[in-house]
């Protein structure tokens, strides 16, 4: 009785168990492979996201570096003293940290090394970026403002012509200021048709404020003329001029080079200038008066910008370069090269 039963039992159970074992091993192997692939893909995605975050952080930090001539002040930190805790610290967007240190080698060209450490999700990347000063003087904008005080109503007419015939591929922006360009767009739209931006012109730029105090100090140190460089007849002399206090132009005044008015530029006649006009206290163009600048206009903190007459600012890169040769102008910080540090 027992022998036939044993023989009838067969090998189904061992066979089933073997199949289960083989299937389990195969499943486990597949699961491990899939898990490894998923981890690899996740790591790669995290690394790419972190790298993008580091790039974005570097761009944001560089855009906030004030226009100027060098980077000593940044390296020294707010206290201006080397070897202290605040050396090189820079404000950075959430998720990243940035520090600036002096670059090795010669002082010129002006540059610094920016280290950015950024995290995104599970990834983290560190990059070293070399920050230098832009080759172009100033900012590529017709009006460079320090604050919103200048954004007053225009009762006369203001024409901003961004196209420079010599630089056809790079039109100037109409406005530049250290705040949201949307506010500048809104002001331009709100002032139409009194304010005309003749195309093509780039959209308003967000940049740091013009460093007028240091520019005035440099102009003073360079021996700027105190005034008297505007002429009514003949070719105006190329001049670096720094006037202390307001400047009143009551008839025809024509000039060339760099005019720094450390006060209000008050025009009741006709003012024509080729180069850079800086007015720390602002500009007032009276009714029936005219301002015509080929180059750029920079305004200081709390500056008046009252246009009751006719004003026109037209891009002229060559005139700006001439002014830059008279007195080196501040430049924006730009990222010139980088490497991945981790």
């Amino acid at each position: 009785m027992s022998r036939p039963e044993r023989s009838r039992r067969g090998s189904a159970l061992p066979a089933a168990l073997a199949i289960v074992v083989v299937a389990a091993i195969a499943s486990a192997t597949l699961a491990t492979l899939a898990r490894t692939e998923i981890l690899l893909a996740r790591n790669r995605a995290a690394a790419a996201a972190a790298l993008a975050a580091a790039d974005g952080c570097a761009a944001a930090v560089v855009s906030e570096i004030p226009a100027g001539w060098g980077f000593d002040a940044l390296v020294l930190g707010p206290d201006g003293v080397a070897g202290t805790a605040d050396d090189g610290g820079r404000p950075a967007p959430a998720g990243c940290a940035a520090t600036v240190r002096a670059a090795p080698g010669p002082v010129d060209p002006a540059r610094a090394v920016l280290r950015v450490d950024a995290a995104a999700g599970e990834g983290r990347r560190t990059i070293d970026a070399v920050v230098g000063r832009a080759p172009q003087a100033g900012v590529p904008a017709l009006l460079w403002l320090t604050d919103t005080a200048a954004l007053a109503d225009v009762h006369g007419s203001l024409t901003l012509a961004g196209m420079d015939a010599a630089w056809l591929t790079a039109p100037f922006a109409s406005l530049a200021a250290p705040f949201d360009p949307a506010a500048l767009d809104g002001w331009l739209a709100g002032q139409a048709p009194s304010v005309v931006v003749s195309p093509p012109a780039r959209a308003p730029l967000r940049v740091s404020e013009p460093p007028l105090a240091e520019l005035a100090a440099r102009a003073r140190a360079a021996g700027a003329a105190p005034g008297g460089t505007l002429v009514a007849t003949g070719a105006p002399p190329l001049a670096l001029t720094l006037t202390a206090g307001d400047l009143h132009v009551t008839s025809l005044g024509r000039g060339r080079g760099l005019l720094f008015v450390d006060g209000l530029l008050d025009i009741t006649g006709t003012f024509e200038f080729s180069g850079l006009v800086v007015a720390s206290g602002g500009i007032r163009v009276a009714s029936a008066a005219r301002l015509d600048v080929a180059g750029e206009v920079w305004l200081g903190s709390g500056a008046t910008f009252a246009i009751d007459g006719e004003a026109r600012v037209a891009a002229d890169g060559a005139a700006l370069e001439v002014a830059d040769r008279l007195l080196p102008l501040p430049r924006r910080a730009v990222l010139t090269s980088m490497r991945d540090a981790s």
């Binding site: 090795p104 080698g105 010669p106 540059r111 010139t336 090269s337």
Partner: protein, 197 residues
């Protein structure tokens, strides 16, 4: 006296026909299983091979991007030219990675990328060391774009120094062939070349 037919049937064993049918069914089931497993294995192999070639293409582009991104790194202000040579089939990138103001051609500071034709292979060359990055290739081409996105043609030779100075972006068009045939793993990478402007 009469035997129980069911009991007798249960103990009578399998007939030859039953055995043959059983064997045939078992063979069918086993064959189906083996076929399914083999098909799955083939599919898995093909997927693995495809994944591998896609990985190869992706890693090649990542490595190329890594080198182009850091080309021209010049903390010492020595005026490092990021693009030291450029042609349709190769380019040479330079960076002052140790910030000593010089570029050591025998180190990783000078990296050469070569699209070789025979055998078709993309290689990264540092000093005397050549590292194959991707092979075999259906396509490997380097192109150079200026500030406005216009192509600076290298023709059959190399770009002149003046043309190299205009290069703002480097393009790698890469297609890695699969071992099992099928469409190659193609990648198009356009990478900005940083240089003061």
């Amino acid at each position: 006296m009469s035997a129980n037919p069911g009991c007798r049937g249960a103990t009578r064993g399998a007939t030859l026909v039953e055995l043959l049918v059983g064997t045939a069914l078992a063979a069918l089931v086993l064959g189906a299983c083996v076929g399914a497993v083999a098909a799955a294995a083939r599919l898995l192999g093909a997927l693995g091979a495809r994944a591998e070639v896609e990985d190869t293409a992706e890693l090649a582009v990542e490595a190329f991007r890594f080198d182009v991104r850091r080309a021209g790194f010049d903390p010492a202000g020595a005026g490092i030219d990021p693009l030291q040579a450029a042609a349709a089939d190769q380019l040479t990138l330079a960076a002052d990675l140790d910030a000593d103001g010089t570029v050591d051609a025998a180190s990783e500071e000078v990296t050469r990328w070569v699209c070789a034709a025979s055998p078709s292979r993309l290689s990264r060359i540092i000093g005397a060391q050549s590292l194959p990055i991707a092979a075999p290739l259906a396509r490997c081409e380097l192109r150079y774009l200026d500030d406005d996105g216009g192509e600076i043609s290298a023709g059959t030779g190399a770009l002149s120094a003046a043309d190299r100075a205009r290069v703002r972006r480097v393009v790698l068009d890469l297609a890695v062939e699969t071992a099992q045939g099928g469409a190659p793993a193609a990648r198009h990478a356009e990478i900005a070349l940083r240089r003061p402007r």
